[in-house]
Symmetry: C2
Subunit: 581 residues, 2 copies
């Protein structure tokens, strides 16, 4: 029981010198990667750069205690940072203490929500987010994020709540471009793209192992940060209008209890919920991918608790919403992390950076951080997924495209809600018209198949319908319509046999519909039978009065049904040689 809620008790018992070494190496590498990312995502969220560092200390230690994934690295990520900026930006203006307080509250509420959902084991709620909706949402978010960072590359002021506004604002300010900023921004971006694309193959050629090459290639942003900071400092480019991070307090985050502000909490409840869901979905899919590689298990409900605790920890230590990040977790895994202790060691690394590196980052140009963000998020844009989804499923495509369009034009919150609503709607639409077929006997066999697809024998007085779906409220009325129509159009019908081999459950709505069908057929002198009802479904039907009121019988097989109702016809079909029709 204790081990369920504190997975640290599980792995720490077997902790040894070898694991320690591997975890330490991974921690050093992840720390180097995480420093520029933390600063950049704080910038994206509209917060002071050091807040990014704060969000990468306590949450990592807390996740190490509660998390079930051995390699997951939590911290600020691009999409959650954008969602933070969107949610908080709606309420208060950026740069104010209220803005920072609202971002902290967002982490707190989001964390508490995750904790509640985790303790109630309601993780399945994340299933509301279908893959096409997530994919569309991330693609649209990445486009918005990249566009929003262009102002830092150009060195101009620009703002906007959606893609069009952002682009128009950039165009309006294009004459204010700062040449030095643009040079730094373009070179940093080009360098980072080159690193991402070419450094790994080059390192491999130089003889590095695949994992090491992967890890080294991830340190590109640190190099960009170091070089551009040095240039700005040496040439005093900040005096030429190049915007820099400026003074970062060289201290650790001070634990504080976030202010109790019910109005604020109510205002951020919906965005906090969305951030929780999106963050959890990303976390769980990364964790599961990495765990599977070593045949390890993760516990999805415990992950909710771990992520929730990490966010509450982030709030208490002055940070903003955190999530399990994809690329940093992969680096952590590839660098050899064996246990969540690697995350705790990373936290120590970030804490040391906050203490000792902060003064050195004074001259870090914002353009470099923007370049880091742009290169990171462009890899999230998956246009191929749109094409694949179009080919595979038009309704999934509709949900995906709706998510993209609404996200780009009306913002992240409405975008994700539109996607979820549409996919739920399309699902109910689909299951409200389940596949069903009128079936007949395949000559010479006891099998019954769709009359429209196979050459089969039907008996005019018997209508056999097979429903290929469980019966529940969404399709209960469909069944009534289907049978009413069939019986009304064919006066020869005296028996209806409902063939149920694919019916996994019948809910109370469908039961009432069956009772209504039975009653209506009785009035029309038609007898209703069932066949091939599954065991659990039959057990449940026995608990109702349906079977007592049923005008016909329940048959084990469709062949039994037809043979009993119309012995001559069924036996004749049985004797017919194949291909006789």
């Amino acid at each position: 029981m204790l081990k369920r809620y504190f997975p640290i008790l599980e792995w720490s018992a077997k902790y040894n010198r070898d694991t320690l070494t591997k975890d330490l190496v991974a921690a050093v590498i992840v720390t180097i990667m995480l420093i520029p990312q933390s600063l950049a995502y704080a910038l994206l969220a509209g917060l002071p750069a050091e807040v990014g560092l704060y969000a990468s200390i306590a949450p990592l230690v807390i996740y190490a205690i509660f998390g079930t994934s051995r390699a997951l690295a939590v911290g600020p990520v691009a999409v959650a940072s954008l969602m933070t900026a969107a949610a908080v930006g709606e309420l208060v203006s950026q740069g104010t203490p209220e803005y920072y307080a609202a971002a902290i509250a967002l982490a707190l509420i989001s964390g508490l929500m995750l904790l509640v959902v985790g303790f109630l084991r309601l993780g399945f709620l994340a299933n509301f987010l279908s893959h096409p909706v997530i994919s569309g949402f991330i693609t649209a978010s990445a486009i918005i994020i990249a566009t929003s960072q262009l102002k830092h590359i150009l060195g101009v002021n620009a703002s906007g709540h959606n893609l069009l506004e952002l682009l128009l604002s950039l165009a309006a300010h294009v004459n204010e471009v700062n040449f030095y900023t643009l040079t730094i921004g373009v070179f940093a971006t080009a360098f980072l793209f080159w690193v991402r694309k070419n450094l790994k193959p080059m390192l491999r050629k130089l003889g590095l192992g695949p994992r090491l090459a992967e890890v080294v290639a991830k340190t590109g942003p640190v190099a960009a940060v170091a070089v551009t900071t040095a240039i700005v400092w040496a040439l005093a480019l900040d005096a030429q209008g190049v915007r820099i991070i400026g003074k970062i307090p060289a201290r650790l985050p001070i634990p504080t209890v976030p202010a109790f502000d019910l109005d604020l909490w109510r205002a951020i409840a919906v965005p906090a919920l969305l951030i929780s869901i999106v963050g959890y979905v990303e976390t769980i899919s990364v964790a599961q991918t990495l765990a599977a590689k070593r045949r390890q298990r993760i516990n999805p409900d415990q992950e909710l608790i771990a992520l929730g605790a990490a966010n509450v920890g982030s709030a208490i230590s002055g940070g903003f919403p955190v999530t399990g990040g994809f690329s940093r977790s992969v680096v952590n895994f590839d660098a050899g992390a064996q246990t969540p202790a690697a995350g705790a060691f990373t936290a120590v690394g970030i804490a040391m950076a906050a203490l000792f590196l902060a003064p050195l980052l004074h001259y870090l140009p914002k353009a470099t951080l923007a370049a880091t963000i742009i290169v990171a998020v462009l890899s999230l844009i998956d246009l191929d997924a749109i094409k694949r989804t179009w080919v595979y499923s038009k309704s999934d495509f509709a949900a995906m495209v709706a998510t993209i369009i609404v996200t780009l034009s009306m913002g992240v919150e409405l975008g994700i809600m539109a996607g979820v609503s549409l996919s739920l709607f399309l699902h109910l639409y689909r299951s409200s018209r389940p596949h069903s077929a009128v079936v007949g006997q395949v000559p010479g066999t006891e099998h019954f198949r769709n009359v429209n697809r196979h050459k089969v024998v039907v008996t005019p007085e018997i209508l056999s319908i097979r429903i290929d779906e469980s019966l529940y409220f969404a399709n209960a009325r469909f069944l009534e319509d289907r049978i009413s129509d069939a019986v009304a159009t064919d006066p020869a019908i005296e028996h209806v046999v409902l063939m149920c081999p694919a019916v996994n459950f019948i809910d109370a709505s469908a039961l009432e519909s069956l009772e209504a069908i039975n009653e209506r057929l009785k009035h029309a002198d038609v007898i209703l039978h069932l066949s091939e009802v599954k065991g659990p479904v039959m057990d449940r039907l026995k608990r109702s009065h349906f079977l007592e009121g049923l005008s016909g019988r329940v048959y084990l097989t469709q062949y039994d049904a037809v043979r009993t109702i119309s012995p001559h016809a069924a036996d004749k079909a049985m004797e017919m040689p194949r291909g006789s029709l």
Copy 2:
């Protein structure tokens, strides 16, 4: 095409003297029944009594043109009237011209919504309302309606937005009871209960046919109205504090275009939607029940259009929301109505009542109308349904009870929304954890069954899992968890076979999950196979890259799969005699 949207063209072509006679007889009987009902439901909706008559003229004529049911009788009904009172009462105070205008707007918006849904053929949206939610909602509404009418029986002032408030308010005013009113109310109620319970059997004993007895028994309210009105008039009881209907203008409704008021429309949009859905669900189930008795067809989408047009017509002629009523439709049917023309003739009857009967209704005591309402709605309370649902399905029971409790304590709108949300939630919860089973070979056969229920042979290196549900976003992650867990706990597994005979479709989310499972298993050196994939599902998979990336193969049968992967084990199981395990 024209006949689809104007079903009148269909039946009017075959109209003859015989049909006319039958329709006229039915119309007379329904008119007699409808007059007190119309007045009573207007009272319930908080509107002047004559508005009830107006709502029973134009809508009936319009339904006769557009409706596909031969026997449905539309007009004001109890639940929709309660919902009208609740929706409008929230915005403006009763008795004002604004209140009346808002009720008209409610009919208009509700009608327009039904028309749009009908033209877009989105009638399946009504499926969101599961039977337990409807049943719970109607039971709770009936309790509220009956309680709200007690003040008229007692002759006191009382009001409240929920059951508790109503009861407390009644208790606070109990010392103001008017003796004469109470006497009329109690006698009228007792009389109507007696009529409902005993008149039909008595008439049968006197030699009347079953249908005629049924119809005559429905005229009880008219008798109650006539007698109590005469008594109040004769004894001048209105001077003793018995509240009466008062002056009713003796005229037909004057067609007017409802005022365009966007703010009002926005405020009533949600209640209008709820009234539309509840009204449509009642209409369609009555229509289907009656149509089936004569093996006739109704068209659910056209019914939306007919009901929508009827409501727009009600609004334009100064009426409030209307619906197909259950008891009056049954009376219409039993009285022999052959075509919707019976409804049009009823409209003529009501119009004549509005012109000539109105002055006679001046002394009609409100207590009599309240008694009519109470007796009518108490028959809607179905406590047995609660018990039946409890026995049959706990989750349906939960949705039903939540609907009842929220409706009673927080009002009709929140009640129905709570029920719909909870049933959707429970459905997704259930389908997010589909039934699945690890299967093994039944010795001596080619069949594979659940290892936990049957004596079967399993091969240690092969894990065969059967999923008894279509794979889509709600359960895609479940599948990932299920397989990850199984493979992580048993290091002997080298092959996973997913047995898919019950999978009716795989959406894009589930496809991505399958791809993720395939990739993860690859990393763990486990091969993924599928078996018994249905034709349409296979067709769709071929449109993706899944089959190319699949580490294993797709087998026609589970036996094929096991025999190919591990020939020795499968054949050995095949040879094993039954009962050898």
